[in-house]
């Protein structure tokens, strides 16, 4: 049996409480508040205390999907990525990069947001990138 606690940051609201992920044999089993954090000093709200539950939800997607004949069908990463990239390239060559737009995410990390805006600006070639900051 291997039990670890990994310090990380709560992914719900902008307070940014530090939590400890409780991991038992590779499974996420709960979270604890960090006592030393200058933000939460050992407390968490109801969302924070239950933070692990959505991570291990049955409803998590486990495979990429493509719409075929009206419904979403599981497929391989190779096929999904080739299909998406191919269609983006086609639309870009037909109608120009500004016919493509992207929404980045206030839930994702800084590094991912950086990569997303770089992808949109450098790979697609448009500034049509935004996220739901206003919402």
């Amino acid at each position: 049996m291997r039990y670890e606690t990994i310090p990380t940051t709560c992914s719900y609201c902008g307070c940014g409480c530090e939590v400890l992920l409780q991991v038992l044999d590779g499974e996420l089993i709960g979270v604890l508040p960090s006592k030393a954090s200058p933000i939460n000093e050992g407390s968490l709200c109801i969302k924070g205390w239950n933070l692990h539950e959505f991570v291990v939800s049955e409803r998590r997607l486990r495979k990429p999907m493509l719409r075929k004949g009206g419904s979403l069908v599981e497929t391989s990463w190779e096929e999904a990525l080739d299909e998406v990239a191919g269609r983006l390239a086609k639309i870009k060559s037909e109608s120009g990069p500004d016919s493509i737009a992207a929404l980045s995410s206030a839930k994702c990390t800084n590094e991912e947001n950086y990569l997303m805006q770089r992808f949109v600006r450098a790979a697609i070639g448009t500034n049509n990138v935004d996220h739901c900051a206003r919402l």
């Binding site: 737009a101 995410s105 206030a106 839930k107 994702c108 990390t109 992808f119 790979a123 500034n127």
Partner: protein
């Protein structure tokens, strides 16, 4: 936030406006309650008697969308009494005369007529805010989600500068960011007009720097905001939309319009961790991972960049979001290496002045607050210390304007939307969490008992709430905490989605939709 969460605890006066702090930002609320325990004066301005209003010395129940008038009224009193910070105004600000001219017209009596707040209360708030040893303003979406959102924010800055409360300990104007990394997404340039670090896409020198780093020419025209993307899909000028970790079919106002737009996309790609209302329209769905399955950083509402650490392997065959983006980028001919997150942060630091000193080894213990320009810089507890970012702080003279949609005979009530303490945003995470779902399962509309009686509604009764955009059915919860003539619906519930009702009138500058007020009526089911 201009200041830090911990500073709130030592403020002598805290003015909360448009923030349901205990429900939406519980751990910030903790600090505020501790401040109160230490003797701070607490002022809460919110039409509803929200939970934190119970602890307030003064609770102002102003009408929805009357914030500018209220703040102008407070400033009127401060000027009339001579409580303004004269030296600060003279040495650190400009535009004061124009402000004074406009504010002169907002007598407490006139403001009382617009806001419904007694003139005496306006005077009391002015005194508490202006005359306490330190005063901090805290606000959230109740201020920004209006067609006058930018005006509201500027008005709060006016008030703070008038009393010399910006650039000082335990002061400031402090927006509470709704989502964990809204601050970071903005900092990283996930916006149509700026590159990372708010460097304008129209600024050639800034563009050059990124062009050199990325080895490719960059577009110089400002791109589309979310709402304009939706309009573009409608019109056909936008053919493809790529959505990472968002749920616009639920979160955006006037959802019918948004869903119609999404259904017109020739290509809709959604990268997310579960199916959502938005994936119903998707052509491709790419499973990303949650925060527990990756390394990275989030930037919280007080600008603190903190580590996110991987605890478990990705669920099923889901992949890190960064990996997905790099794979697609490579296929489109622009190679982005998926470096370890720490090296990616080095790249970001090299291009983003305010993140210049952010390095993973320095972030280990509780992160650093930007601006942190170099490797020796300790980070910044509060902004604008000796001078404003722009030099002098600029006052904006602002007149009150009513909300976009007025009430009439057909839609006589005002509808507002927001959060509950249990759930988060569109519920894609919290409603899939068994404990949270158990806590609050069903959608509801909060209304005043007298309004309910007038409509023959006695709970537990289903009602229909109708606006010019649509209608939804849900349970009525009666409460005297909400003023008569007003309805409140939390927007977490897909089966009675509040945003089918909300109006997509936007703030002309920030493009923020007016979620916080529209005209509605209620009917018994």
């Amino acid at each position: 936030m201009t200041n830090s969460i911990a500073e709130l605890e030592d403020a002598a006066c805290i003015f909360i406006i448009g923030s349901n702090t205990t429900e939406a930002h519980p751990l910030v609320a903790n600090r505020i309650l501790r401040a109160k325990q230490k003797g701070a004066k607490l002022i809460v301005a919110d039409p509803r008697k929200i939970h934190i209003a119970e602890f307030a010395d003064i609770h102002l129940s102003h009408r929805l969308g009357s914030d500018v008038a209220l703040i102008n009224g407070i400033m009127h009193v401060i000027l009339a009494e001579g409580w303004e910070a004269k030296d600060y105004i003279a040495s650190r600000t400009e535009g004061f005369e124009a402000l004074e001219r406009v504010v002169r017209g907002y007598t407490p009596e006139k403001v009382s007529g617009i806001t419904g707040v007694p003139a005496e209360q306006i005077r009391a708030v002015a005194e508490a805010y202006a005359r306490s040893a330190s005063s901090s303003i805290v606000y959230a979406m109740g201020i920004t989600q209006h067609t006058t959102g930018v005006d509201n924010v500027k008005s709060l800055a006016n008030l703070a500068m008038l009393c010399g409360r910006i650039g000082v300990e335990c002061g400031g104007v402090n927006p509470l960011r709704g989502q964990n990394n809204v601050q970071g997404a903005c900092d990283m340039g996930a916006l149509p007009n700026v590159l990372p670090g708010y460097q304008k896409v129209t600024d050639e020198a800034a563009r050059k720097k990124f062009e050199q780093a990325w080895g490719v020419a960059l577009p110089s025209e400002v791109g589309l905001t979310v709402m304009k993307m939706m309009n573009g899909l409608h019109a056909g000028s936008v053919r493809a939309l790529y959505v990472m970790g968002e749920n616009p079919a639920m979160s955006d106002p006037n959802s019918h319009h948004v869903r119609e737009a999404l259904s017109r996309a020739e290509l809709l790609v959604v990268q997310d961790i579960t199916l959502t209302e938005t994936t119903e329209y998707a052509h491709a769905v790419l499973p990303g991972v949650s925060f527990a399955e990756k390394d990275g950083t989030f930037t919280n509402t007080e600008r603190r960049v903190q580590r996110v650490r991987k605890g478990i392997e990705p669920v099923g065959d889901s992949r890190e979001d960064g990996w997905i983006l790099c794979e697609l980028s490579r296929r489109l001919g622009h190679a982005m290496e998926l470096e370890p997150a720490s090296e990616l942060m080095d790249e970001i630091a090299g291009l983003t002045p305010s993140y210049g000193g952010m390095r993973y080894d320095r972030l280990e213990a509780f992160g650093l607050q930007w601006p942190c320009p170099d490797a020796e810089h300790p980070g910044t507890k509060y902004l604008h210390k000796d001078k404003f970012a722009r030099g002098r702080g600029l006052f904006h003279a602002i007149e009150y304007q009513p909300p976009a949609e007025a009430c009439d005979d057909e839609y006589p009530m005002q509808l507002t939307t927001g959060r509950s303490f249990v759930h988060f945003h569109t519920g894609t995470m919290t409603r899939r969490s068994p404990s949270l779902d158990e806590e609050q399962k069903d959608p509801f509309v909060q209304m005043h008992p007298e309004d309910a009686e007038a409509h023959g509604i006695s709970p537990p009764g289903q009602v229909k709430v109708i606006t010019r955009r649509g209608s939804i059915s849900l349970e009525a919860k009666l409460s005297a905490r909400i003023p008569k003539g007003m309805l409140f619906i939390p927007f977490h519930f897909a089966e009675a989605a509040a945003n089918l009702l909300t109006i997509d009138a936007l703030d002309p500058i920030a493009g923020i939709p007016e979620y916080k007020v529209c005209a509605a009526r209620v009917e018994r089911e």
